[in-house]
Amino acid sequence: MSGGATQMPGEPLLDVSGLNVFLGRGASEVQVISDLSFAIWPGETVGMVGESGCGKTVTGLSLVALLPADASRITGRISLEGKDLTRLSRREMQRIRGRRIAMIFQEPMSALDPVFTIGRQITETIQAHFPVGAREARERAIEALAAVGIPLPARRYDEYPHQLSGGMRQRAMIAIALSCEPRLLIADEPTTALDVTVQSQIIDLLLEMTRRSGTALLFITHDLGVVAETCSRVLTIYAGELIEDAGIDDLLARPLHPYTSGLLRSIPRLSAPKSLLPSIPGRVPSLLNRPSGCRFAGRCAHAAPECAAPQVLQDEAGRRVRCCRHGELRLPGAVA
């Protein structure tokens, strides 16, 4: 088991260990994810944060085997309920995707098929995994639409995605994703395109629906506020590496990695006076030009000679951190 320092009773639902993801072909192949290891326990809600280009979405896609087969390569283990997903055939994976593990995306309009009705897209999922007839599939689909708070579900069943608002489309996506009660739902920025009042509705809905079915949630987002309100544990990803794994309250109070601290401090606050916002200088290093030592060192105010060496993920009092200086630094968190 690779879950590291985080101790939970029983076996993990998802156990990712030594995951490397490469994109591209032949000479143009680049490594996007390096040696990623983490675990998620049944029913747990885990956040994954980091800036654009750090590999969050690629991680999500690799878990559900939705990366293009001819232009990606994966090594390591992705174990779901004890079964290594990286060793499954396309066919075997199709039986698991949607049924045991599902994923929803930021832009529901591009994930929904515009030429099929909402109802058809749910019954398709249900009938792919359960031996039910058309009538029962339809009943289940309408129930699923009602459960996600879509008004007049029987009418919406026959409507097309473009007839729904952004918030309603995301509800429909959730209905499809949860129609077969998967054990793990990966939600990739599901509320980023939504207004803040609709965002609260969708977050409440996601939490309630996953709690009801005991589904674990991996919530991928760039918004630490959203994570604080939804997740019990957070994985911070930087330049393709896991750099911190901690309980949410511990992380907010005392981040151990300078990058996590920088992220927390650069968020403008409702109550903040008009002052300079602490920002993180520079940018995420490009895929082709990742430093051999600490990948964050070039942007880090605490970089020291020892940071030129490759950094290992260390266990620290129930958390994990990839920074050789974490013991000597006292970094500010969300509460100054």
């Binding site: 207004d195 803040v196 009042t197 965002q199 968020i267 409702l270 109550s271 903040a272 940018r283």
Partner: protein, 334 residues
């Protein structure tokens, strides 16, 4: 109406502004902005918050003369730009500019960055070429980009860098007002922080006036002196940023503030969330009376019949709600 009586003549005065668009089948009308009044003082940062469909972007375009008002008017320094002749209008609008959310859309992919920044100077055609090139380098420096960026193309730049170029381009003709329409929305938080710091620095040095349009409460709270809250084509609340954030008067403002996710440990999070039901109604057929009533937990019979008056409840604090006092009382806020 003036909401900043202590100040001199405002740089921008918006008087009962209305902007209507014909809808798809031409028989219906979208009332994107429907009777909005406020003023912006020189040197001020004026924030406008609202959800998609509130009309805030249309308001931003109307402020700089990109759309003609259907009713009411926008005065720039006391002058109505639409009353000017074509030549005066072209000259005039250089002082009142807008920068948009998508940093790529505003830059021509085939033009170097230097050329893009120089373009407004070329159009103005008032200075010799050598002076314009020197000005481009000065502007790049001003927004924190190296001189070598002048030779690059947009695709070689990150989103944050492109947005800096757009700001440099806006600064080229020494504007007085810049409307920032969601200019940090597409950026990561650390890049966003850099850009907000840059805006503040430019304002200090150049005495710029900003209207910042955003859906992000943290951004507007951080940068604005005063904040206007917009809902379905109308302002529902306007006041000094700190007061509005501490003690919002309108139930919609309360709901917005309460639904903003805050990165605080559970023990430090206060209060129960107000989760609004439903979504913003269609601006083609807005609800009668108070437009927010269909999602408001305080709504009563009167709200459907009588449109709440825009009134100054406290000095410099305006609100349009029959129950604005009640909403301030924590007991009644659920």
């Amino acid at each position: 109406m003036s909401d900043a009586p202590a100040r001199d003549a405002p740089l921008i005065a918006v008087e009962d502004l209305r902007v209507y668009f014909p809808s798809g089948n031409k028989r219906e009308t979208v009332k994107a902005v429907d009777g909005v009044s406020f003023t912006v003082a020189a040197g001020e940062t004026f924030g406008v918050i609202g959800e998609s469909g509130s009309g805030k972007s249309t308001l931003g375009r109307a402020l700089v003369g990109l759309v003609r008002p259907t009713g009411g008017r926008v005065l720039h320094d006391g002058e109505d730009p639409f009353a000017l002749g074509a030549r005066d209008f072209a000259r005039h609008r250089r002082d009142f500019l807008i920068v948009f959310q998508d940093p790529s859309a505003a830059l021509d992919p085939r033009m170097t960055i230097g050329h893009s920044i120089r373009e407004p100077l070329d159009v103005a055609d008032e200075t010799p070429r050598s002076e314009r090139d020197a000005r481009v380098l000065h502007l790049l420096d001003r927004v924190g980009l190296d001189a070598e960026f002048a030779r690059r193309y947009p695709h070689e730049l990150s989103g944050g860098q492109k947005q800096r170029v757009n700001i440099a381009r806006a600064l080229a003709l020494d504007p007085r007002l810049i409307v920032c329409d969601e200019i940090v929305a597409a950026l990561d938080v650390s890049i966003q922080a850099d850009l907000l710091n840059l805006l503040a620095e430019l304002q200090r040095e150049l005495g710029l006036t900003y209207v910042v349009i955003t859906h992000d409460l943290g951004v507007v709270a951080h940068i604005a002196d005063r904040i206007a809250v917009m809902y379905l084509g109308k302002l529902v609340e306007l006041g000094p940023a700190s007061r509005l954030m501490e003690a919002p008067l309108h139930p919609y403002t309360r709901a917005l503030l309460s639904s903003e996710p805050v990165p605080l440990p559970s023990v430090l999070r206060t209060g129960t969330k107000i989760v609004l039901q439903g979504e913003i109604p269609s601006p083609i057929d807005p609800p009668s009376g108070c437009r927010f009533r269909t999602r408001c937990w305080l709504a009563a019979g009167r709200c459907a019949e009588v449109e709440p008056e825009w009134r100054e409840l406290e000095p410099n604090r305006f609100v349009a709600c029959h129950f604005a006092k009640a909403a301030e009382d924590p007991e009644s806020a659920r």
